[in-house]
Amino acid sequence: MKRVALYFIFIMCGILFVSAFAFGGEYFYGKFFATKEDILNSFKQSNINWRQFEGESITFIGNAEPNQESIMQLVNVFEELTGIKVTHELVSEENLRQKITVDLTGRTGIYDAMLIDPGYLALYDKSQSLEDLSVYINDPTITDPNWYQWPSDFPEQFIKMGQINNIQYGVPLHLSGTLMIYRKDLYEEKGIPGPAKTFDELWDHASKLNNPDEYYGIAMRGMAGAGLNMFIWTTFLKSFGGQWWDENWKPMLDSPEVIESAKFYSDILKNFGPPGVSSWEWSKILSGLQSGKVAITIDTPAFGISIEDPELSKTAGKWGYAPQPAGRAGITMDPFAWYVGINKDSKHKKAAWLFITWMTSKEVQMAIGGPTIYVSRLSVNGDPRWQEDHPWLAGWQTALMENVKYADPDCRPRIPEYPEIGNVVGVALQEVISGQKNAEDAMKEVNKKVYDILDKAGYYK
């Protein structure tokens, strides 16, 4: 009996071992590079010596999302090109922030290149934790300007968002932010001519499309957080004509415009949103869109690839994309991108820079799939060949490029105190959405809190 069991275990291990080889190890370089040699040759055409840091090793930390996972699968290309060994870690957003914080605060220089949330750049500028990348951009031995095409191939607002006080701390990996996404088929069904151009129209459309228990008119982020509900609501704050503070940094969250924007945001969700929307963050919104429970949202354009994939989404092919509605102050888009920067305590700064140029190169962005997995380069985004596989892409690109014109990098103010301010205001907004407070009380209270935070940080000396 024992012997039989032993043989059985041995055979199972053998099967597992062999099947690992069957399923592993295929690399895919996208539709434009047939083999690894093709992509390597494209890199070799640039005017720099890729092998100048041969033998060095660097460590990169990023976010565990499909875009970056695709890039990391191509790391063997970089290693073969340069002879630099890359250790890469992709972790959740929470973990990412914690690990970077520990490394930068302790000045241990563990991570040479790292993914950065632009909302925290002001903090890192104050703590002098990151390298000024212009040193590397302007160094002809490590950057061939004709090949890298900086800044021309990147959208201007996204370049600016990677700067604090005009120092370039990061290169954008993506091009994202906010976009209005709506069910074209339901619009046709209800006879609504086109996507909402104003907030009044948005209210009207959400109410017409609200069919409780089957689908809900609108869903937007309610979960409290500097990068959660604040990511979307701050576009309302600005479009309604509100401001965070005046020229003397006195907060203006208790102004009628801001209160109105908070009231509108929470009322439209309370009336036409799904139950529990006050704690919805992007993953819940995405599954709401995919399962057909939500008709309109304002959230990240990155949803496109996931809601149009028939294997992932019940609603594939039914979506329309449009710029956000305009308020009395026009349209506001909250831009977002992950940036890659270099640790000031890194011992392999130039090698890290080569890795960054490789990661943000046209070749890699073409290889990982262009705008179906959103990337930062304008030339890659604008390539019409992607539409062959994805017919919805044309509408998506037009809408996104139009919305980007209204991008405001300071939608969420990029000061070192923003993480705390964002959390406190986010909680106040959530209290309004969940019905615990009315908009006026909540905004007046939180205005005082923001004043205290800025006071403690020395803004009123």
Partner: protein
């Protein structure tokens, strides 16, 4: 005699070193940090400023209240239900060993997994809880985690589900070591089960009960996953306990000095709770 002492010391040394490095040093460093303005870009001595700021912060008092609510209700229910389970398993019945395995299962599951599972079950549209309510009982569901009235209780329930088995195990051990003669004598004298339970059983199990409650109180005070994964402290501040607030201060605001201050205050509160327990459970004699 000398060699005995050296031997003893040599055996204790590894454990002692571990405690010093991973327990004593971090505690002392946290204490030290609480007196500093320590963030990602500053590290200056700050005296008692952090403490004064915290006492002026109304969110601190809200968090304290939430922590106490969580502990009292979680541990309270865990004790009552745990005691009932222990009494049940103190007797013999068919299928007892299999039932015991199932009862113990929640304890073995990592807290993150149970928090995630409950998070999905609590979903108002797709979750199991509302599905059962709607289809079996024909009540419209609740927004468990987002309704300010239900959020904290939903979160306490996760703790109760996960740790009642622990309490019942400890209490069962206590029940099995009760002197049988005393109980039989009481029964012969005519006492009924309820009188026996309250006058004798509970009194004899005093120390064991104290151990179970103490362990659970300290752990419930530190509860993290059950809250962070489900509500992140929301809606509003409704489920923000001291521990969650310390995390937010440290890793969202990047203000480590203030987070350390919260941690030290938590240390004081839990020490206070422990001393209350010890006084309460050691003072009475068995009549």
């Amino acid at each position: 005699m000398r060699t005995r002492k050296v031997e003893i010391f040599a055996f204790i040394l590894p454990g002692l070193l571990f405690l010093i490095i991973f327990s004593l040093y971090p505690t002392l460093f946290t204490w030290y940090t609480s007196f500093r303005d320590f963030s990602i870009f500053s590290n200056n001595f700050n005296g008692l400023r952090n403490y004064f700021e915290l006492f002026k912060d109304n969110v601190f008092y809200i968090s304290l209240k939430n922590s106490l609510l969580y502990v009292i209700f979680a541990v309270g229910f865990e004790f009552i239900i745990g005691m009932l389970i222990a009494l049940l398993f103190n007797q013999n019945f068919k299928g007892k060993s299999i039932a015991l395995i199932f009862i113990m299962l929640p304890m073995i599951i990592p807290p993150v997994v149970s928090a995630l599972s409950f998070y999905m079950m609590y979903d108002p549209t797709l979750g199991l809880m509302n599905y059962i309510l709607k289809n079996l009982f024909h009540i419209s569901g609740f927004s468990w985690l987002t309704d300010p009235k239900t959020a904290i209780w939903a979160v306490v329930l996760i703790d109760i589900w996960q740790w009642t088995p622990f309490v019942s195990l400890v209490l069962l051990a206590g029940l099995q070591y009760l002197p049988k003669e005393t109980l039989e004598a009481a029964r012969i004298d005519g006492a009924n089960s309820i009188q026996i339970f309250f006058s004798i059983t509970i009194k004899l199990m005093r120390k064991i009960i104290m151990i179970a409650l103490l362990f659970r109180t300290v752990e419930a005070f530190k509860a993290f996953e059950s809250i962070f994964i489900t509500t992140k402290g929301g809606p509003g501040y409704n489920t923000r306990t001291l521990n969650i607030y310390a995390y937010i201060k440290g890793f969202e605001f990047m203000k480590f000095g203030e987070a350390a201050t919260l941690a030290i205050l938590m240390l004081f509160v839990s020490s206070f709770l422990i001393s209350i327990f010890r006084k309460f459970f050691s003072k009475e004699e068995i009549k």
